[in-house]
């Protein structure tokens, strides 16, 4: 299995531990990642489409064309990149008029969108392309006794008619993937909540909204006695991890460690924390790592 690695903007710069984690678990599972220097930022909705739809589609389509030229499917590690690239691909595939309009723009840079490359997320690759059974075979260090709170975020599962992965109302894939590691995927109210991370980062949603949502998510996980919240998107991680420092002073609540799913899986695959960048998370993960070791 080989994919064009679409790292996005936030992950390699502010959440580079996640990049390490993704690279190392995929290497362990014999998946090849091809680094592509021609990929740019995915041109997300809040930044480009909102100001000029056509510019947004063309910039996103350029990235799709780069993967097509390499004859590789795209693997993203950011849910927002995943959703944006998938949506643009669907729009162009379904509307001949838009495709023609965008291909006219792309012809000025000798590119043409054809539509023969798929867009995947590291979680969809793990669930669909590798499969839970294969992952189960590779687990050498089951994380018994760990209570993990799956946080799906928005763009891994929505819009459903675009993503066609999991169920947007009652998602289950991340729960299944957590259980394969030997950890327990617990129920809590905010499992399908929104962290507003990308909205706050790119768009006009203020900090006040973001911290209120953050508090709801953390409190809900805390109430369910979660050892950690498990995320699949650098925006969710950034928001929930760093954000807890902002509210810690006002709220007498102990911070909940934030792990990427790839961190959790990596530990179950027997990788060391420093091979996964786990200690780069802002909320202290030491007690969690101790609990896993014991």
């Amino acid at each position: 299995m080989e994919y064009a690695f679409f790292r996005g903007c936030l992950a390699p710069i502010r959440e580079y531990g996640y990049e390490l984690s993704v690279r190392n678990i995929l290497r362990t599972l014999n998946v090849q990642l091809v680094d592509v220097e021609d990929f740019s930022c995915c041109a997300p909705a809040c930044l480009f489409y909102s100001f000029d739809f056509t510019t947004g589609v063309a910039l996103t389509a350029r990235n799709l064309c780069v993967a097509e030229e390499k004859e590789l499917d795209i693997l993203t590690m950011c849910s927002s990149c995943f959703s944006n690239l998938s949506k643009t691909r669907k729009l162009l595939t379904e509307s001949p008029e838009l495709k023609q309009q965008v291909n006219e723009i792309l012809s000025t840079i000798d590119k043409e969108f054809v539509g023969n490359t798929e867009v995947k997320h590291v979680v969809t690759v793990l669930f669909d392309d590798i499969g839970v059974n294969k992952i189960k075979e590779a687990v050498t260090n089951p994380l018994k006794g760990i209570r993990a709170a799956a946080f799906y975020g928005c763009h891994l599962i929505r819009p459903h008619d675009v993503i066609k992965f999991d169920d947007s109302e009652l998602p289950y894939t991340l729960d299944k993937l957590i259980e394969v590691t030997g950890a327990e995927s617990i129920y809590y109210k905010e499992k399908v909540g929104c962290c507003i991370g990308c909205g706050a980062f790119f768009g006009g949603v203020g900090e006040q909204v973001a911290s209120r949502l953050l508090l709801k998510i953390v409190k809900s996980a805390k109430k369910a006695k979660a050892d950690c919240i498990v995320v699949t998107c650098p925006f969710c991680a950034f928001q929930l991890d760093l954000g807890q420092f902002g509210i810690a002073e006002n709220e007498e609540t102990e911070a909940v460690p934030i792990l990427y799913y790839t961190d959790l899986l990596g530990l179950a695959l027997g990788l060391q924390p420093d091979e996964l960048g786990v200690t780069l998370h802002r909320v202290d993960v030491t007690p969690l790592l101790e609990k896993i070791k014991s």
Binding site: F51, R62, I105, R158, H160, I196, G199, G203, V205
Partner: protein, 167 residues
């Protein structure tokens, strides 16, 4: 004077994804993470109502249309699959075109046009990445990619539309 209603413009812009009839059931607002926190400032049901009742021109200068974060929960819950985030995206485009928009693009947009990335890659970042064994990131995407991005921006007239260059 504008003779075409916003509703008509949006319906035309969205092509097949026409602005369907909204029942005003309010499921969108009930499940909107933003509306839950700041209901007075943002309410997707009310926004659709404004469009269908043609309160349109005022909307273009209203900051409310810029508060959606594209989580798509409203779309999933809507019994008629009204594509509220897509509609808001089109209204934002109209707002930018009208020259009356309260919203300026963030500095991230300029970064993307100049470097292909929305954030600057500081030297420290390269050092930190190197210290955990990651390959270098470089300050910009490839020269070819940068040229292509600039060409696209030029062809679509993006800077002109934003008022960064003369119309």
């Amino acid at each position: 004077m504008q003779t075409t209603s916003l509703k008509e413009i949006i319906t035309r812009m969205m092509g097949n994804e026409r602005l369907k009839i909204c029942q005003q059931c309010g499921k969108c607002a009930g499940d909107c993470p933003i509306a839950k926190v700041i209901p007075e400032q943002f309410n997707p049901r009310r926004l659709i109502q404004k469009i269908t009742l043609n309160y349109s021109r005022e909307m273009l200068s209203d900051v409310e249309i810029w508060l959606c974060a594209f989580c798509y929960r409203c779309l999933e819950r809507c019994p008629n699959r009204v594509a509220i985030p897509e509609i808001l995206m089109r209204i934002r485009n109209l707002s930018v075109e009208s020259g009356d928009t309260p919203k300026q693009p963030s500095a991230l947009v300029k970064n993307m046009i100049e470097t292909g990335r929305v954030m600057e890659v500081l030297d420290e970042v390269e050092e930190w990445r190197n210290s955990i064994g990651l390959p270098p990131l470089r300050q910009t995407v490839s020269e070819q990619a940068l040229n292509e991005i600039r060409k696209i921006i030029e062809t679509t007239g993006f800077k002109r539309k934003l008022g960064w260059e003369d119309k």
